[in-house]
């Protein structure tokens, strides 16, 4: 009897020891940060935003075709939306989607963002914003067409091929949404792209270069006339 009791005690102590060991191991893991506690409150006031300040007003006025007053107006609007001074892609997509509530503007906003983001670092600063606006609104015809070419040329290799054009056109059609008249068919974008290439690709080599693009656009009076439409946007 005595021995059994003694063994019982020993067994119990074994259990206790193992339980304590396990808890100590868990605590060690927790301390070492290996165990995730889903409690992210330790990083209280981390600096999440990168504040960017634009160049001086005079410099921007020299670099772009805007005058001081217009730059002030533009900056005020920009700063209101993005106090940190930069726009990242998600914010841009959100903003752009608000103008096209019918459909899905996120794909096209992605291409547009890449066209604005001259340094390809994932964020648009005020300088990028104002430079692009200056080209689009106050630039020469050639500059505008070059900007458009850069928008279409997704991989920036100097050529627009059919796949790139298909992506862009499909993104544009996505913005229309589902309820259109006439109803969109799945080969609508392809036909659109084929027509475009028929017109733009002068030497029929399957890609459109910058010169072909500019030449073709300059031949089309409609395009030339429409380019002037947006000059009084600001």
């Amino acid at each position: 009897m005595e021995r059994e009791e003694g063994e019982g005690e020993l067994d119990g102590l074994h259990t206790l020891a193992i339980v304590l060991l396990l808890f100590a191991a868990l605590k060690l893991l927790y301390l070492l940060g290996l165990m995730d506690t889903e409690d992210k409150n330790d990083d209280d006031l981390e600096m999440t935003m990168v504040i960017h300040r634009p160049e001086g007003l005079d410099q921007l006025e020299a670099q772009t075709n805007f005058n001081k007053k217009e730059l002030q107006v533009l900056y005020r609007g920009f700063k209101n939306e993005c106090p940190s001074g930069v726009v990242n892609e998600d914010t841009f997509k959100q903003i752009y989607s608000q103008f096209f509530p019918h459909g899905d503007a996120s794909t096209y906003a992605h291409y547009l963002f890449n066209a604005f983001d001259s340094e390809h670092n994932g964020s648009i600063k005020f300088e990028d914003f104002v430079t692009a606006l200056s080209i689009l609104l106050r630039g020469s015809t050639r500059e505008k067409l070059q900007w458009t070419f850069n928008l279409y040329d997704i991989n920036r290799d100097g050529y627009i091929n059919k796949e790139e054009m298909m992506d862009i056109v499909r993104a544009i059609y996505d913005m229309m949404g589902k309820y259109t008249y006439p109803a969109l068919r799945t080969d609508t974008p392809r036909q659109h792209v084929d027509a475009f290439f028929q017109k733009m690709d002068k030497n029929k080599d399957g890609v459109v270069t910058l010169d072909e693009f500019i030449l073709s656009c300059q031949e089309d009076e409609n395009i030339m006339r429409s380019l002037q439409l947006f000059e009084n946007v600001i």
Partner: protein, 633 residues
């Protein structure tokens, strides 16, 4: 360098005269001060409240908006002041920061509004002075928690999955939100059931059963029906293992999943079984490892996935960890003190229970927590006195950290209540948001119907169109440009479904059928549809549209019912139909004409006398396709 130091710099430099007699070499030339020494007062107008401050004050912090050249963007030449369209009350605090170098947080302001102002002025919140830092931190944490919950309630809720999610993502979602699909719900209940079964089996297996025939001693049921219990245990462990592996497979980030608390609990719950399997039937070792079976009780913690209350409790305990630690520590101190005292007080008594200080621990704990089993009782007077002091102080020490824990629990519990309420209201909110969104989409359609896309010079522009804001005009112009680019029009759901309906019904013309046979992949809605419109080339020639007369009928009727005024005006002037853009373009609103008889000798389209006005299309340019005939009835 702190702000105030700059003011003392001239003094320090002047005092450098005292070094001159001692200097070994000649002094260097001082830097040329290009800036003018005179200071000027700047005017800052914040939403009408005019502030005035020295320029030097603002220059103290050159990496903020007011201290850098960025404020020039807000300079108003006419009034010679800087105008900011922000909250004037908050600006007071911002300006005080420049003046005193310490940023204070106003207690009555919303934390997020304050943060936004700081972000606008380019001030990092870390500079908040010590007097206000704690308040700021607390409120920010509270706000973040609340936002995190709302986000969770929003996203993790019953939102529909993106259409092209992989099976892995769907599986993960089914695990996290059992309410999304019936399969997930079934699985959820099955695992819950098996957890319960496993725990109950663990408990029942130790209950003494009637002994086997022939023996006297009572056996625990576990040993009597050992095979049955073993099978049940195996089944449960198999299910748990399967569930764990599935979760591991579906987890978006396997590392993160393996480190989470729930996964550790899962592993600890099933490990003993496997260890028991591989452990050899060794006498010495198995004794200790049989005690591993005690870990099977961990399976009860798996219920925390199923029960929110358990999770709240766990979270509360975790957040009160420091208070609990303090309680434990102070209790340990008190136990040791009192146990020692009791031991020495009772040492002299014969046959006493207080054989050693560790033995006295038991008495102290039982007394301090006011349990009082009575198995160990002091006999001496000194022992009784100390015993009573022990029990009185025990009550106090335990009562101290309890309110803290309770308040934590109540805060977390209320947060959860709020989250549940949020989730319940989510559907209503989403419906309302969708309604608001539809409002903006319908605004454009309404705009079109009111004839807003016409030239603004014409007198027939409706008054309601003129009264729209400039923003609306420009936005509608943008949408209209998109329509022109794609040569498709925006419609609402009603029209779209009508169009689909009429097109799928009533196909009488062979031309349309022959056309439809040319279709490649048509949209799912309208499988047999005539080619309404060839794709318009970029800004150039115009397409042709044809259609069956029946479509024309319905559509015409529909359109005319919506906008009588514009139609009539357009009807009147069919010659020089000046539409919104230049005359080469067509709006889709104007339905084109039936196929000219020259092209379709094999069909006879019935005339449509009742149609009030098929509009005229002006011809333009060269068409790549069949010519469009103008007809008006």
């Amino acid at each position: 360098m702190a702000a105030g130091v700059a003011t003392w710099l001239p003094f320090a430099r002047a005092a450098a005269v005292g070094w001159l007699p001692l200097a070994k070499k000649t002094m260097p030339k001082p830097p040329i001060d290009k800036k003018s020494r005179s200071d000027e007062i700047l005017f800052v107008n914040v939403s009408g409240l005019r502030f005035q401050t020295w320029k030097n004050t603002l220059d103290r912090y050159p990496d903020t908006l007011l201290g850098s050249s960025e404020k020039e963007f807000f300079y108003n030449e006419d009034t010679q002041e800087y105008f900011f369209d922000r909250d004037p009350e908050m600006f007071r605090h911002v300006l005080n920061f420049y003046r005193t170098g310490k940023l204070h947080y106003p207690r009555h302001e919303c934390i997020q509004a304050f943060d936004e102002e700081l972000a606008f002025y380019g001030i990092v919140p870390e500079i908040i002075g010590d007097c206000c830092m704690e308040e700021y931190r607390d409120r920010k944490k509270e706000n973040q928690e609340r936002l995190a919950e709302d986000n969770e309630a929003g996203e993790g809720g019953d939102a529909p999955l993106p259409p092209n999610s992989t099976s892995r993502e769907r599986l993960w979602r089914a695990f996290e939100n059992p309410h999304t699909s019936t399969m997930a719900l079934v699985f959820y209940y099955v695992t819950g059931f098996f957890i319960a079964v496993s725990v109950i089996a663990n408990v029942v297996e130790t209950v003494p059963c009637r002994p086997i025939k022939g023996t006297v001693k009572d056996l625990p049921c576990g040993e009597k029906y050992s095979l049955a219990f073993f099978c049940m245990d195996t089944a449960c462990v198999l299910i748990f293992t399967f569930e764990y592996l599935m979760r591991l497979f579906a987890a978006p980030s396997r590392c993160k999943f393996m480190r989470s608390v729930m996964s550790v609990i899962d592993v600890v719950a099933i490990m003993p079984y496997y260890i028991g399997l591989i452990m050899p039937e060794n006498e010495d070792v198995s004794g200790a490892f049989v005690t591993l079976r005690v870990f099977r009780v961990f399976r009860i913690f798996k219920f925390s996935r199923h029960s929110q209350g358990l999770r709240i409790l766990g979270y509360t305990l975790k957040s009160c960890a420091s208070e609990l630690g303090f309680l434990l520590f102070s209790l340990t101190m008190a136990i040791i003190i009192f146990a020692t005292v009791m031991f020495y007080a009772e040492k002299g008594t014969k046959g006493t229970n207080f054989t050693s200080i560790p033995a006295a621990f038991w008495y102290t704990i039982v007394t301090m927590t006011t349990l009082g089993y009575g198995d160990m009782v002091p006999n001496t007077i000194a022992g009784k006195i100390f015993g009573s002091i022990c029990s009185l102080s025990g009550v106090l020490v335990i009562a101290l950290p309890v309110p803290v824990i309770v308040s934590n629990f109540s805060r977390i519990y209320h947060q959860n209540q709020r989250a549940d309420k949020m989730r319940a209201q989510q559907k209503v909110r989403m419906a309302r948001i969708r309604l608001a969104k539809k409002g903006t989409t319908n605004a454009f359609l309404q705009y079109k119907d009111d004839g807003g896309l016409q030239d603004h010079d014409s007198d027939s522009t409706a008054l309601c169109v003129k009264n729209r804001s400039a923003f609306e005009h420009q936005h509608h112009h943008l949408l209209h440009c998109l329509e022109k680019t794609t040569n498709h029009e925006f419609t609402d759901e009603l029209t779209y479904s009508e169009v689909c309906m009429t097109e799928s019904v009533g196909y009488r013309t062979s031309r349309s059928t022959s056309l439809s046979s040319h279709q490649g992949n048509s949209s799912s809605c309208c499988p047999r549809r005539a080619k309404r419109r060839a794709i318009r080339l970029a800004n150039s020639t115009v397409s042709v549209s044809r259609g069956s007369m029946q479509e024309l009928d319905t559509l015409q009727v529909h359109k005319t019912s919506l906008a009588p005024q514009s139609r009539s005006s357009l009807n009147a002037r069919t010659e020089d139909l000046k539409l919104n853009c230049d005359d080469r373009d067509f709006t889709a609103a104007i339905i084109s004409i039936p196929t000219p008889p020259a092209n379709t000798p094999d069909e006879s389209l019935p005339p449509s006398p009742a149609i009030p006005g098929i509009l005229r299309n002006s011809r333009s340019g060269s068409f790549p396709h069949d010519p469009v005939k103008i007809s008006s009835l």
